[in-house]
């Protein structure tokens, strides 16, 4: 078991009034699993991610990583936000190495590993360029590399494809599944895109509107490797219908 979340609750105070964001979230993520969390916008997905990664502390409940309850989760969970956050003063390679550098990996070793990965990330030839010359998809791949190259085995992704155009997004989704299956990481992906959740995940977790709790867990039994054209398969459509029903059942 990689991650265990039990009875997680989180409130904010906004100008004196309590806003209940997370109400009793329970979640299990297994080693090497790809799990998507999907829910209406503003339901508290990002707050959940921030709690898991240790950026915020929950008001009550437990978060166990690898079976142990750790008070300080910062540094244990890899985190990839929607913005690529590449530093303009670093070259592409230096950006990709940032995480390893902070975690104290040897410089030579990291450079060697990065050099091997550049081609798989479609970045060879751009190592010593500044990020400003890269396309949106390439920038996002550098950001992935920065997160994936650390020794953190659990990685949370907060709508990483949200800012990309549809075509690039589909390319990146296929690319991410391939990379993930070869790297042995456990991934939690936050998204509001039902297709994306189904294409990438082993399981999809649907949250209710705020205050968020788990409404439905769907096992995606689709064969791998997944390809974008699968969105028209009957099995895919059946799953999609299930998810959309769960997502929109509160609406009149």
């Amino acid at each position: 078991m990689k991650l265990q979340v039990r009875n997680l609750e989180k409130c904010f105070t906004d100008k004196g009034t309590y806003v209940n964001v997370l109400a009793d979230i329970n979640l299990d993520v297994y080693d090497g699993e790809f799990v998507s969390v999907i829910g209406p916008s503003g339901c508290g997905k990002t707050t959940l991610l921030n709690c898991i990664s240790g950026l915020e502390e929950p008001d009550s409940g437990l978060i166990n990583i690898e079976g142990e309850e750790s008070q300080s989760r910062l540094g244990r969970v890899g985190y990839m936000p929607q913005k690529d956050l590449l530093f303009p003063w670093r070259t592409v390679l230096e950006n990709a190495l940032l995480g390893m550098e902070i975690r104290g990996h040897s410089r030579i070793e990291s450079r060697k590993r990065a050099g091997e990965l550049m081609e798989r990330f479609g970045l060879d030839g751009f190592e010593y360029k500044t990020p400003s010359v890269l396309s949106g998809g390439m920038r996002q791949r550098v950001a992935f590399m920065r997160t994936l190259m650390t020794d953190q085995e659990l990685i949370v992704l907060d709508e990483p494809f949200g800012a990309l155009d549809a075509f690039t997004r589909h390319q990146m989704q296929e690319w991410l599944v391939d990379i993930w299956s070869s790297m042995g990481k456990t991934i939690i992906l936050i998204t509001h895109d039902v297709d994306e959740a189904l294409l990438l995940s082993d399981r999809v977790i649907v949250l209710t509107a705020r205050p968020a709790s788990v409404k439905l867990v769907v096992n995606v039994g689709l064969p791998r490797p997944r390809r974008y054209r699968m969105v028209t398969d009957t099995a895919f459509i059946a799953l999609k219908e299930q998810l959309i029903r769960a997502l929109w059942s509160d609406e009149v």
């Binding site: 969970v77 936000p81 913005k83 956050l85 995480g99």
Partner: protein, 267 residues
């Protein structure tokens, strides 16, 4: 399609050329009008010298002016460097200690509300007559924009970038050099651009209240003797000095913060 595109390029080139010619064009026309008005209305030299009078004065007393220019330049450069050092250290300490910031910031602001012209003579009493009081006056004026801008730069870090660093497990001592410091450099240079120009004013004020050398001193000595052309020559040199130093700061920014330009173009 093609001829249109060609025309577009040509007109853009002409547009750029016009942009380049605007500053020298304006300056030249101001001087021409000035020259003509002085000779037309027969204004005496001691009241308002014509640009040609100022030029002649500059040529005749070249070595005198040059000597005093070097003195002032030295005060400006040293004062500015002191301001840069003090400013950076203060900004660094304030960003690392909230208590230090709260204790020191009021004094930093207060230091700018005290008229420098009142402090300058006191400095003569305290530290004497040489170059030191001038350097202090220059530093006192020019450290302020450096501190304020650098502080803003340290603080103007994208909160998502800060969170990302924290999830890598980065300590404050890693976040500062890898994120806050480079992020603050464009702000620092904005502060330096302001500081270098006010440094020139600072040096003249420092000399004005008591000196034996420098362009400010030369002006205070020339005014009672109605050597107005010399006063103007000194003023022109000061402006020129300010512009050159300002451009040097911009050139330095291009070397140290090369990403700033490309980011600007992107947005």
């Amino acid at each position: 399609m093609k001829p249109e595109a060609g025309f577009g390029v040509a007109s853009r080139d002409i547009g750029r050329l016009v942009l380049y010619l605007i500053p020298p064009g304006i300056i030249t026309s101001v001087f021409v009008i000035w020259e003509l008005s002085v000779s037309l209305f027969d204004v005496p030299v001691w009241l308002l010298p014509a640009p040609s009078d100022i030029l002649v004065e500059g040529k005749e007393n070249y070595s005198l002016l040059w000597h005093h220019t070097l003195v002032t330049l030295k005060e400006v450069v040293f004062g500015f460097l002191v301001a840069l050092g003090v400013g950076l250290v203060l900004a660094f300490c304030m960003v690392f200690s909230r208590a230090f910031e709260r204790a020191v910031y009021p004094f930093i602001v207060a230091s700018q509300t005290i008229p420098i012209i009142a402090i300058a003579p006191l400095l003569l009493i305290w530290v004497g007559y040489g170059i030191t009081p001038k350097i202090i006056v220059v530093a006192l004026i020019s450290f302020f924009p450096i501190v304020v801008n650098t502080m803003d730069g340290f603080k103007a870090v994208d909160s998502d970038a800060m969170n990302m660093m924290r999830t890598f497990g980065a300590s404050r001592w890693q976040i500062f050099p890898k994120l806050q410091l480079p992020n603050s450099l464009p702000y620092l240079f904005t502060g330096m651009k302001i500081a270098i120009v006010v440094s020139v004013i600072g040096a003249v004020i420092g000399e004005w209240v008591g000196a034996s050398e420098g362009l400010g001193y030369l002006m205070t000595r020339s005014i009672p003797q109605f050597q107005t052309d010399r006063v103007f020559a000194a003023m022109f040199i000061l402006s020129f000095l300010g512009i050159i130093l300002f451009m040097l700061v911009i050139a330095l920014r291009r070397v140290i913060v090369p990403w700033y330009q490309s980011e600007e173009y992107k947005s």
